[in-house]
């Protein structure tokens, strides 16, 4: 296809041509950034979490009497185990993505105290006996806590437990002791110190870090006895088959409410906790999808409108070309090539603009650098959009009969 006549014709219609280029450029720039934002959110929403999310039900029990918890807690657990379909029960202080965060900073040398800025902040999970089973934790190295360790652990007046054992996640181990086995190593926040007895597969923190998802897995588990928990063990966990979880949740909430009339029991499935945590993020992702769709539609209609006008204006010219031997295919090709050239110019400008917008967003929001491959993907999408929108008007142009040329008026 000869492109010189196309360029010559575009030069004559400079303003409409510039407008199409501008429209494509803006659409390309917004599209690349919006898709990048969507993909970041989608990957956050699907962060892996090594617990049995499908079968897990949690009931929070708040407002209990701390003095009676030593006897109430085992009684509550026994009652929950009686619910049909429940395989394991346990208590914890919090759950991944529950937004109920208890953080503390530890160091790996014996002189570490809380005010050391080089300490690493981790989320603490205090768990009762059987919590590894109830959560469905995957043990990678070492062991989980034994009965004595559960029985001996308690809260005194300090915010850290009176025990000397801890289980850490894989990424916590990697952060504190890169390249080494964590087993037998010690976490310090003097006067407290804890030896690592086990490493489990990565479990999310109660709040994730969207800037650096590796940090979302830095958490540790401590054993805790019912009597010494001072009200910290507020999450009752029940694990059953996924198809039973809604019924188990209702039964468990009712049972705990009956047994503890002065307290407030609230049940939810683990999937419910996860959905709630990511609700804002997923609605933002859907909004971005909507904006992209509408924006592409508006751009497509703009191209259709301008090209149709163009075709209308050039009916006579097209008729002459047809009369001197151009086939319908030639005419169709002419408009498609013209659109390809315009889109290419737009995409080129758009990629630069997309890069600029990305820089602006990095400066003003928590945003990473856009990987380069978003640019060619965005370009491809707009080429396709351009060809699709020009097809209708181009066909109309191709159907102009040669006889038009013989009429004086176009």
């Amino acid at each position: 296809m000869e492109i010189r006549p196309i360029l010559a014709s575009l030069r004559k219609h400079r303003i409409p041509a510039i407008l199409i280029v501008l429209e494509i450029a803006l659409a390309c720039a917004v599209l690349c950034n919006a898709v990048f934002m969507i993909s970041k959110r989608v990957s956050d929403i699907h962060l892996p979490n090594a617990i049995d999310e499908q079968g897990l039900v949690a009931v929070t029990l708040r407002g209990t009497d701390d003095k009676l918890v030593g006897s109430d807690l085992p009684r509550n657990l026994a009652a929950l185990l009686g619910i049909a379909g429940v395989k394991q029960v346990a208590v914890t202080s919090s759950l991944p993505l529950s937004q109920n965060n208890w953080g503390w900073s530890f160091g790996s040398s014996p002189d570490s105290v809380i005010s050391d800025k080089k300490n690493i902040n981790v989320s603490l999970y205090f768990v009762g006996a059987g919590a590894d089973q109830a959560l469905g934790l995957h043990l990678l190295q070492g062991r989980f806590f034994n009965a004595d360790e559960f029985a001996d652990s308690k809260f005194d007046t300090a915010p850290l437990p009176e025990t000397h054992v801890v289980v850490v996640t894989q990424r916590t181990a990697e952060r504190f002791w890169p390249g080494q086995s964590a087993l037998g190593k010690t976490l310090y926040s003097m006067p407290h110190y804890y030896s690592v007895v086990g490493v489990v597969e990565d479990v999310l923190r109660p709040n994730i870090n969207t800037q650096n998802t590796d940090k979302s897995y830095e958490d540790v588990f401590f054993p805790m006895s019912a009597a010494g928990s001072k009200g910290a063990l507020g999450f009752y966990l029940l694990r059953g088959a996924p198809q039973d979880r809604d019924r188990i949740m209702r039964d468990a909430e009712q049972k705990l409410a009956e047994l503890n009339p002065a307290a407030i029991a609230k049940g939810t499935t683990y999937l419910g906790i996860r959905a709630k945590y990511f609700a804002d993020m997923s609605s933002m992702a859907w909004m971005l999808v909507l904006v992209c769709a509408v924006m592409l539609a508006v751009t497509a209609f703009g191209i259709v409108g301008l090209t149709s006008f163009w075709v209308g204006q050039r009916r006579r010219q097209i008729g002459i070309r047809r009369a001197v031997g151009a086939t319908r295919g030639h005419i169709l090709q002419y408009f498609q090539t013209e659109n390809f050239l315009l889109t290419s110019a737009g995409v080129l400008l758009g990629m630069g603009l997309a890069f600029g917008i990305n820089l602006y967003l990095m400066q003003h929001y928590e945003m990473d650098r856009m990987p380069w491959y978003y640019l060619p993907c965005g370009a491809l999408a707009l080429w396709l959009l351009g060809q699709a929108s020009v097809f209708g008007p181009a066909q109309k142009a191709a159907s102009v009969p040669p006889v038009v040329a013989t009429r004086g008026i176009g």
């Binding site: 409409p16 917004v30 919006a34 005010s115 800025k117 007046t157 300090a158 407030i264 703009g302 928590e366």
Partner: protein
């Protein structure tokens, strides 16, 4: 003449319905998106206490160790430890001052079969209500003497009064919070400043319903009610007794009525920190005394996503305007012959220009009306979102008016280029072609 242009514009718009619909629709979508996001943005970044915010200041100090300190760069923490908060309170350097922390209160309804429930509660000091202009429906706040003695009394919100006492005057009655009976001394009218400026750094949400229960700090602590967020800066021996622990959990607000008072308070604050450094409690000299709106800006209370949405909507509107320019241009160039005839019959360039601007304005108005419908739809969507601020998303009168300003400005900008092109067409060739 204007009426004639209107008539011409209407005829022209009717002649090409598809193109007109496309233009109006694109413009309306852009305007709808912009107005929706701007409404939310304005709502969230608004002034929670317009009559008072310029006089409310938030002192901050930094008790952390030297470790990790960069002079002039490290910002002081948001909350402070009990001894410091009390020192500022007792110095009484402001017209009013109050210390506060957020907590959860377990409320036991007096009725049979009614389940207990948790409500958001503020533990604070006497000046809270007068300083923040919290309006009372019944009764009043408490006194400084009540603060000192830890009197067992409480101020409740109107919605809690409706729930527990059917909206009647409950002053003098008691309400069971935790396992204590507290005497009600005041009932607030509906009061929920947006953003909830006084909860910053206290582990509570920044938007949404107001708090249900307000009680004296000392009373709440005696009932073992704890703050929702605690930051410790040194090893803690006794976490239960937060009053002596090296932990920050209280926010202090002061009311300062003129510039002199602000400067004086800053001097006092610096002096206090110097004194603490001298006795070895502190090492970092930095202090901060921001007014309410500056604190909101510094804390970036408006969620990132909301600002991002507004930016995105503007980008989208820009695309829609460029699109409208293109379509208007196509429309007006198609009418070159008509323009030629009008010019030949004596219409000036200015008149042609005006005619096309009127047409663009009409597209804008139609886009504005439809855009308003889209904005209402968008806000309806936002009200069904899980966000804290969802229930606040309503179009107010000023945004309603602003919609038409945006629509007209956008369409007139879009019309400039086509109208100019139309007005500079030379009449002769067009007539010849006709």
């Amino acid at each position: 003449m204007f009426a004639y242009y209107l008539d011409l514009a209407l005829r022209s718009l009717k002649r090409n319905r598809v193109l007109t619909t496309l233009m109006v629709l694109a413009l309306a979508l852009g305007i709808g998106a912009t107005i929706t996001t701007l409404t939310v943005l304005r709502l969230l970044s608004g002034d929670p206490l317009p009559q008072k915010s310029a006089q409310l200041f938030y002192p901050q100090i930094d008790p952390n160790s030297k470790d990790g300190y960069l002079e002039g760069q490290t910002k002081p923490d948001l909350t402070m430890a009990y001894p410091d908060a009390m020192a500022l309170m007792h110095a009484k350097r402001g017209t009013r001052q109050a210390a506060m922390a957020m907590t959860q209160a377990k409320i036991m309804p007096d009725k049979a079969h009614a389940r207990p429930f948790f409500s958001d509660a503020v533990m604070t000091t006497a000046d809270f209500f007068a300083m923040f202009d919290a309006p009372f429906q019944y009764g009043s706040g408490w006194s400084e003497a009540d603060d000192e003695s830890g009197a067992e009394l409480v101020v409740i919100a109107g919605f809690l009064n409706d729930k527990l006492f059917g909206g009647t005057n409950s002053v003098g009655k008691t309400i069971r919070v935790g396992d204590h009976d507290l005497r009600i001394v005041g009932v607030l009218k509906p009061w929920s400043p947006q953003p909830r400026f006084y909860t910053q750094g206290m582990g509570s949400r920044s938007y949404g319903d107001g708090d249900a229960v307000f009680l004296p700090l000392r009373t709440a602590r005696a009932m073992e009610m704890g703050p929702q967020d605690t930051e410790c800066y040194a090893a803690v021996e006794d976490f239960r007794h937060l009053e002596t622990a090296p932990c920050e959990w209280l926010g202090v607000w002061v009311e300062l009525n003129n510039e002199g008072a602000v400067a004086g308070y800053k001097q006092f604050l610096d002096g206090y920190v110097k004194q603490q450094i001298a006795i070895g409690r502190f090492v970092r000299p930095d202090t901060s005394l921001l007014d309410l709106m500056s604190l909101m800006r510094e804390q970036q209370v408006v969620p990132d996503d909301v600002r991002l949405q507004a930016d995105l909507a503007f980008g989208f509107l820009l695309i829609c305007v460029v699109n409208t320019v293109g379509l208007l241009l196509a429309k007006c160039l198609r009418r070159s012959q008509e323009i030629g005839v009008r010019r030949a019959l004596g219409a000036t360039r200015k008149e042609i220009f005006s005619q096309f601007m009127v047409e663009a304005g009409m597209v804008g108005l139609a886009g504005g009306v439809l855009g308003l419908a889209f904005a209402e739809l968008g806000l309806l969507g936002i009200r069904h979102q899980p966000a804290q601020y969802a229930s606040l998303a309503h179009l107010d009168l000023s945004m309603f008016a602003f919609t038409f300003v945006v629509a007209l400005v956008a369409s007139l900008i879009a019309g400039l280029l086509p109208a100019w092109r139309a007005s500079v067409l030379a009449p002769a060739p067009q007539l010849k072609a006709a």
